[in-house]
């Protein structure tokens, strides 16, 4: 599957059905990343039920602690 993530085209060979699965594959913690899918910000509660399709564009905005 082809996904555009943070402006870069990426190819995934493993099956990725949902946003949560994508974050797991990228080693991102679901509660430390804001996900924008095709320009929409996804609520945290829908990450595991939101499916991904070939050609989707995502922005993954990751946060680290400190302030």
């Amino acid at each position: 599957m082809e996904l555009k993530i943070n402006g870069t085209q990426k190819t995934f060979t493993d099956e990725i059905l949902t946003v949560t699965q994508l974050l797991e594959q990228l080693n991102l913690s679901v509660d430390q990343v804001v996900v924008e899918l095709n320009r929409d910000i996804l609520a945290p509660g829908v990450l595991s039920t939101t499916g991904l399709n070939n050609g989707d564009e995502l922005e993954l905005i990751q946060f680290v602690g400190g302030g």
Binding site: Q32, E59, F63, V64, G65
Partner: protein, 268 residues
Amino acid sequence: MDIYLNEIRLQVPEGTRLFALRDTHRPKADILILNGHLLTTDHDLEANDRVVLIERGVQPDAEELEALMMARHTPGVHERVKAGRVGIAGVGGLGSSIAIALARTGVGRLVIADYDVVEPSNLNRQQYFIDQLGKPKVEALAETIKRINPHVDLVCRQLKLTAENLAATFVEVDILVEALDAAEQKTMLVNTWLRKYPDRALVTASGVAGFAASNSIKTRQIRDNLILCGDGVTAAEPGCGLMAPRVGIAAHHQANAVLRLLLNEEID
């Protein structure tokens, strides 16, 4: 000839001297500053001289203080900054410095929110003082800001921000600054705010710990209404603490991003 008295342009007769100016306009003034120099003796005045007359212990009223404080601003900036309403979520290392910078800049209304109290470990980087230990941070910061300018329109909310109370806490602001500590809290705030108020700007921070090079801190526009300051990767964790210089750099990146938003300037 024209001079500036307490930053306001004033026409005075040719040959007017400093003491005569004081006697006419501010007879009780006991601090006389001419072009940045403190003077105790009388002095000739020339066109375009800048004279500041201060009565020791007497605070200028709101209007005069505003004129005095804004005298060092770039012309045309003040009115737009004054119209700004800015929220600051969290007043720790980032938020306390941001609030002070924006108060000094003359932002019209500031809404600050934090549930925490001042602890000794905060003093390494946060804008609090040892005599404020144990005080709610919003209260301590309000004291400090009022010492800078008692006329700042400041709203303090002592509460822990959640996805449920965030929108109501900052309902009146045009721009929100995320200045929280934990990554999960930052994520919650950004996610909640962008979905609730998609048209309002949000200035957030990530990657401010340690003492890596100053210039690794960047301001980036992530999407139309989202600006991120920091290096994006350096987390606060055991072995990488939070220190005044780098947290301060990031805080002022955020404050400057707010200023640029208020002035409709491009972010990066």
